[in-house]
Amino acid sequence: MEMLYAITTGVLTACGLYLTLRGRTFPVVVGLTLLSYAVNLFLFSMGGLTTDGAALANRDGHFADPLPQALVLTAIVIGFAMTAFVVILAMRARSEAGNDHVDGKKEIRE
C-alpha cells in the first residue's frame, strides 16, 4: 500500500511539474493545482496511512495523526486562494499583454 501511495504521489508531482514548465499561463495554473494535490497527499502521508482511525477523541482504538490533517486542511483552502489568484493574474496578463504566454511575449513561433 505504501509503495502504491508513494508512486501515485510521484506521478502526480511529475505531471504537475511538467505542466508548470509549459509556456502558456493556463497549463501552468493547471499544473500548479495538480502539484498542490500531490503536495497535499505527500504532507498528509507524513502521519502515516491509517485505516478506520479518524481522530475523534471520544472513540477507542488507534488514531490517525491529526496534526498533518489540520495542516493539510488549511493548505487545501490556501491552495484554492492561490489558484484563484494565479488564474486571475493570468487573465489580467492576457488583457494587458494581448497574449497568454508566461513571459507576456508576442507569438514567436507562429
Binding site: 510521484g10 508548470t20 485505516t51 481522530a55 488514531f63 495523526d65 484563484a84 488564474v87 487573465m91 513571459d103
Partner: protein, 943 residues
C-alpha cells in the same frame, strides 16, 4: 538610570527640531541645544563616581535569546568620547546656526545632526557588542543623510553614496567579526569579552575575527586603502565636516580599536597590521594634503593622516602609546574642529575655498587669521600647543617600539617624514590664505564673521593653547581615566612640555625645520607630482559600481533571462540535485515498517489518480479536457483522504474541488481554449525528463518516510483535545484552538487573496470569445430549467447542511472551513442557475466586508482572552442546554470558527461572484465613468 538618559536624550532630542521645523531660528537652535547640553551635564555629574574607580553600567534585557541587551557603560574612555561628541556637538550647533542660510531647512539639519550625535553617544556607551554594532550602522546611515544634505549637488550625492557604501560594507564585516568574537568569548557582553583576552588570542579563529573587526574600524576611520571616501565626503556643509571628520565619525573606528584593546590587541598580527596600515595612512594623507588646493580638501587629507598617526599608536599598543593615542584623539578633535570651522568661515565670508583665489586675508579678517594660525600650529606640532605634546609622545613611542624587528628604525624615520609633511601643509594652509598677497580677488569682499560664529573656534583654540602649556593640569585626569578603561588597569604617566634634549625632540625640530624647507620648495615638489597621472577616486568608485551592476544584471540574466520556463527549469533542477543529495545519504529506501496489504479499492483509486494525472498532462493543449481530467484527480484525492481516516480533509477537498473547477472553467472562458504547439520536441523531452526525475525523488522520499517510524507530537493533542479544547474532533480543535494563531493567519491570507483578485478584476479589458474551441457558437439557451428549479430547492437545504456541519465541527468532522465552502457553493450554484442579474437583485451587498468581518471576529475572539488575563487565543467553553435541541457546548472557539466561516464565505464569493460579474454591468470598477469605455456585450453573462 542616568546612563540610560544620557544615551536616550540626544535620540529624543531629534524630535525637537523636527517638530519646530522652520519656526523662529534662534529658538529652534536654543531648544535643540538644550538636549545635548543636559546629556553633557549628566555625563559630567558621573565624574566623581568614575574618579572613585567605578565603571558605571546599566543593563536591561532586550532580546536575551540573541544575546542582545540594552546594556550601557560609562568608563573613562566613554567619558572622553562623550565629552568630545556632546561638547563639540554643542559648538557645532552654534556654528551651524550662523553657517546655514535662513532659507535652508535647518530644522531637518539639526534633526540629522542630533540623530548622528545620538548614534555616536550610543557607540561610546554600548556595553554589548551587538548594540554597539547597531549604533555603528546608525552612524553610517545618519552620516549619509548629513553628507548628502545638499542633495541638489551631484557631488554631495555621490560623496554620500560613497561614504555609505564603504562604511556600510565595513559595518557588515564588523558584524561578522563581532559574531565570531562573541562566539569565541561566549558572550556579547563587553565585560566578558574584555576579560577573556587570553582565550581570544589563543583561539584558532582569532586571525579571521581580527581582520573582520579591523575592516570595520579601518573603513570607518578612513585608513589606507579605504581612505578615499573621506575627501569626497567634504561635499557636506562645513559644520558636518567639522563634526564628523574631526571629532566623531572617523574617530569611531579608533574608538573601537581602543575599546577592544584588552580583548583583541596584543598579538603580533595586530601590531603588524595596525601599525603598518596606520603608517601608510599617515604618509598617504600627509603627502596629498600638501598638494590639495581646496581648503577643506587639505583638512580632509590631513585628517586621514592624523587618524593614521593614532592608529599607529594603537598598533604599537604599549601603555604609553595608548596614553599618546588617547591624548592625540583629544588634541586632534580640538584643533581639527577649529580648523574646519575656520575654513567654513573663510568660505562663508569670501565665497570660495580655493587657495588660488585666496590670499592676504590677514588684513580683512585679523582675528580669524590669528585663530587659524594658532590651530594650524597645534596641527603642525609647534611647541606650547597641544599637538606638540602628543606628537612628541608619538615620536617617543616609535623610537621605543621593537615592532619591525631589525627594521624598527624605519618607523621613527617614517614618523619624522610624516611630521615634516604635516608642518609643510599646515604652513601652506595658513600662509597661502592669510599672509601671501592675493593673486585674484575672492568672489565676495571678505570681512570678519559675526562674533558668535567665531566663538566655537575661539573656545577650541584656547583649549589648544591651555592644554599645550599646562598639560598636567588640564588633561592628566581625563587621560588617566580613559587609559585605565582601555588598559584595564591604572598606569602612571606624567605629561610635561620639557623632557630634556633627546631623540624625539630632535625629531620634532627636524620636522619643523625640514617642513619649512619643504614648503619653501613647494613649487618644485608640485611640478614633480604633476608628472604622475592622478587617480580620481570618485570616478574609479562610480565605475566600479557600474561594473558591479552590469555583472549583477548578467548573472540575473543567466538565471532568469526574462523566461519563466528557464527559471522554473533551473529551480526544479536544483531541487532535484538537493533531493538526490539527501536521498543518497539513506542506506536503505525501505524502512523498518513493512507495506500494508493492497486492496482492490486502493488499487482502483491509485489507478484513477495516475490516469487522471497523466491525462491532465497529456491533453494540456486541449484545455477543457485537461481541466476535466484534473477534476478526476481532485475527486480521487478527496476519496483518498476519506480512505485514510481523514473525513475533515475529504469534506474540505470535495467542496474546494467544486469551487476550483467552477473558477477554472470561468477563467478558461476568457482565455484561449487551446494551447498552440510551440515547444520544440527537444524541450518537451527535457521537461518530461526533469519532471519525471523529480517525481521519482518525491516518490522515493515519500516511500522512505512511510516505511519508517515517526515521532509525533500528536498524542498531546489527542489527550488534551477534550479537557483542553472542549471538543472531540481533534483536527478541528487543533485548527481553532491549539494552532488557532496559524488559522488566523490563514484566513487573513484568504481574505487578502480575495481582495487582491477584486483589485485585479478592476477595469480589466476582456477578450470574450464568440465560440468554443471547436468553433461552435455558445448555446442560446440561457438557463436550463431543471438546474434553475433544483437550485432553488437546494439552497435552503444546503444552508441547513452547512449550519449543521458548522455546529458539529468541534466534535465530529466539519467546522468553519467546510461549512463556509458549502455555503459558498450553494450561493454560487444560484448564480450559475439564475444568472448574475437575478442573484445580484437578491444578494445585493458586497462580499468584501463579509470576509473582513470574519477575520475581525476571529481576531477579536483571540483578543478577548486578554480581557480575562489569558494569552492571545486562549479558548473557554461551557455547556448549554436548550429545550428540544438538548445539551450542546458553547465554546469561544465556536466564535472563532464563525470568523473562519465568514472569512471563507466572503473570500470565496468575492473571488467567484466578482469573476462571474465581469461580463455584466455589476463588474468591479473604480470609476463608474469607465463603463462607457468598454461596455461588455449585453447578451453575454456569466455562465
Amino acid at each position: 538610570m542616568i546612563l540610560l538618559w544620557i544615551a536616550l536624550l540626544p535620540l529624543l532630542g531629534v524630535v525637537v527640531p523636527a517638530l519646530l521645523g522652520q519656526r523662529e531660528r534662534a529658538l529652534c537652535t536654543c531648544l535643540t541645544a538644550i538636549v545635548p547640553a543636559i546629556a553633557l551635564l549628566l555625563t559630567l555629574s558621573q565624574v566623581p563616581a568614575l574618579l572613585d574607580g567605578e565603571t558605571l553600567r546599566f543593563s536591561a534585557a532586550w532580546l536575551p535569546e540573541l544575546g542582545l541587551e540594552l546594556a550601557l557603560r560609562l568608563d573613562g574612555l566613554t567619558l572622553l568620547f562623550n565629552l568630545l561628541i556632546l561638547g563639540i556637538g554643542l559648538l557645532i550647533l552654534l556654528y551651524a546656526h550662523f553657517y546655514l542660510s535662513p532659507e535652508e531647512p535647518y530644522g531637518r539639519f539639526y534633526a540629522y545632526l542630533l540623530l548622528f550625535m545620538a548614534s555616536m553617544v550610543g557607540i561610546a556607551m554600548s556595553d554589548n557588542l551587538i548594540l554597539l554594532w547597531l549604533f555603528w550602522e546608525l552612524t553610517s546611515l545618519s552620516s549619509f543623510l548629513l553628507i548628502g544634505f545638499w542633495s541638489h549637488l551631484s557631488e554631495a550625492r555621490k560623496g554620500a553614496r560613497m561614504a555609505l557604501t564603504v562604511t556600510g560594507a565595513g559595518g557588515l564585516a564588523l558584524l561578522a567579526g563581532f559574531l565570531l568574537l562573541g562566539d569565541i568569548a561566549g558572550s556579547f557582553d563587553l565585560n566578558v569579552v574584555l576579560a577573556s583576552g587570553d582565550a581570544i588570542l589563543a583561539d584558532p579563529r582569532y586571525p579571521v575575527m581580527l581582520v573582520l573587526v579591523l575592516l570595520g574600524a579601518f573603513t570607518k576611520s578612513a585608513q589606507f586603502p579605504f581612505q578615499f571616501w573621506l575627501p569626497h565626503a567634504m561635499a557636506a556643509p562645513t559644520p558636518v565636516s567639522a563634526y564628523l571628520h574631526s571629532a566623531t565619525m572617523v574617530k569611531a573606528g579608533i574608538f573601537l580599536m581602543a575599546r577592544l584593546h584588552p580583548a583583541i590587541a596584543g598579538s603580533e598580527l595586530w601590531t603588524v597590521i595596525v601599525s603598518l596600515v596606520g603608517t601608510a595612512t599617515l604618509l598617504y594623507g600627509a603627502w596629498f594634503a600638501l598638494f590639495k588646493t581646496d581648503l577643506k580638501g587639505i583638512l580632509a587629507f590631513s585628517t586621514v593622516s592624523h587618524l593614521g598617526l593614532i592608529t599607529v599608536l594603537l598598533g604599537i599598543g604599549s601603555p604609553m602609546a595608548v596614553v599618546a593615542a588617547l591624548f592625540h584623539i583629544l588634541n586632534h578633535a580640538t584643533f581639527k574642529a577649529a580648523l574646519f570651522m575656520s575654513a567654513g568661515i573663510i568660505d562663508h565670508e569670501t565665497g570660495t575655498r580655493e587657495l588660488k583665489q585666496l590670499g592676504g586675508l590677514k588684513k580683512t579678517m585679523p582675528v580669524t587669521a590669528l585663530l587659524t594660525t594658532l590651530a594650524a600650529a597645534a596641527m603642525a606640532g609647534v611647541p606650547l600647543f597641544n599637538g606638540f605634546l602628543s606628537k612628541e609622545m608619538f615620536f617617543t613611542e616609535t623610537v621605543a617600539t621593537p615592532v619591525l624587528g631589525g627594521l624598527s628604525w624605519l618607523l621613527p624615520a617614517l614618523a619624522t617624514l610624516g611630521g615634516i609633511l604635516s608642518v609643510a601643509y599646515s604652513l601652506r594652509l595658513v600662509y597661502a590664505v592669510f599672509y601671501k598677497p592675493a593673486r585674484k580677488a575672492p568672489p565676495k569682499t571678505p570681512h570678519e564673521p559675526p562674533h558668535l560664529m567665531r566663538l566655537p573656534v575661539e573656545i577650541l583654540v584656547v583649549l589648544c593653547v591651555v592644554v599645550g602649556i599646562l598639560p598636567g593640569l588640564m588633561a592628566t585626569g581625563l587621560l588617566d581615566l580613559a587609559t585605565q578603561a582601555v588598559l584595564g588597569e591604572s598606569f602612571d604617566f606624567y605629561l610635561s612640555i620639557w623632557h630634556g634634549v633627546n631623540l624625539p625632540l630632535m625629531m620634532s625640530i627636524a620636522a619643523l625645520v625640514f617642513g619649512t624647507v619643504m614648503y619653501w620648495r613647494h613649487s618644485d615638489l608640485r611640478q614633480f607630482t604633476q608628472t604622475f597621472v592622478g587617480v580620481d577616486a570618485r570616478r574609479t568608485f562610480e565605475r566600479a559600481i557600474v561594473v558591479l551592476g552590469y555583472w549583477a544584471e548578467r548573472c540575473v540574466a543567466v538565471v532568469e533571462g526574462n523566461s519563466l520556463q528557464r527559471y522554473m527549469g533551473l529551480l526544479l533542477f536544483s531541487a532535484f540535485v538537493m533531493g538526490v543529495i539527501g536521498l543518497a545519504q539513506i542506506t536503505d529506501l525501505t524502512g523498518t515498517l513493512g507495506n500494508q496489504p493492497v486492496d482492490a479499492m486502493a488499487l482502483l483509486g491509485a489507478g484513477m489518480l495516475i490516469f487522471g494525472g497523466l491525462a491532465t498532462a497529456a491533453t494540456h493543449r486541449y484545455r477543457l479536457i485537461s481541466l476535466l481530467m484534473l477534476s478526476v484527480v481532485g475527486l480521487f484525492v478527496a476519496l483518498t483522504f476519506a480512505r485514510f481516516s481523514a473525513p475533515d480533509l475529504a469534506l474540505t477537498q470535495l467542496s474546494v474541488e467544486v469551487v476550483t473547477m467552477i473558477l477554472l472553467m470561468l477563467a478558461l472562458f476568457f482565455l484561449p481554449q487551446k494551447t498552440p504547439q510551440e515547444s520544440s520536441p527537444l524541450r518537451n523531452v527535457r521537461d518530461i525528463l526533469l519532471a519525471s526525475a523529480l517525481g521519482l525523488v518525491v516518490a522515493s522520499l515519500n516511500y522512505a518516510v512511510l516505511t519508517r517510524e515517526t515521532l509525533s507530537i500528536s498524542d498531546f493533542f489527542i489527550e488534551n483535545s477534550k479537557p483542553g479544547g472542549g471538543g472531540y474532533n481533534v483536527v478541528n480543535v487543533i485548527l481553532v484552538d491549539f494552532r488557532g494563531f496559524d488559522t488566523l493567519g490563514e484566513i487573513t491570507v484568504l481574505a487578502l487573496a480575495g481582495l487582491a483578485i477584486f483589485k485585479l478584476l478592476n477595469r480589466l479589458r476582456l477578450f470574450i470569445p464568440h465560440s468554443d474551441g471547436e468553433g461552435r457558437v455558445w448555446s442560446p439557451d440561457r438557463y436550463p430549467a431543471i438546474l434553475t428549479s433544483i437550485s432553488m430547492a437546494l439552497l435552503p437545504l444546503a444552508l441547513l447542511v452547512s449550519a449543521f456541519i458548522f455546529l458539529r465541527g468541534h466534535n465530529l468532522p466539519g467546522g468553519g472551513f467546510i461549512a463556509g465552502l458549502i455555503t459558498a457553493v450553494a450561493l454560487i450554484l444560484l448564480y450559475m442557475a439564475r444568472g448574475v442579474e437575478w442573484a445580484q437583485d437578491r444578494l445585493n451587498f458586497p462580499f468584501q466586508p463579509v470576509a473582513v468581518v470574519g477575520v475581525a471576529i476571529a481576531t477579536l475572539t483571540g483578543l478577548g482572552s486578554w480581557l480575562f488575563g489569558y494569552p492571545f487565543l486562549t479558548s473557554a467553553f461551557s455547556y448549554v442546554t436548550l429545550p428540544l435541541i438538548g445539551t450542546f457546548e458553547l465554546a469561544s472557539a465556536l466564535l472563532f470558527d464563525l470568523g473562519v466561516y465568514l472569512a471563507v464565505v466572503g473570500a470565496t464569493l468575492m473571488i467567484l461572484a466578482n469573476l462571474g460579474k465581469v461580463t455584466t454591468p455589476h463588474r468591479p470598477m473604480l470609476e463608474p465613468s469607465e463603463k462607457e469605455a468598454d461596455t461588455p456585450k449585453p447578451n453575454k453573462e456569466a455562465r
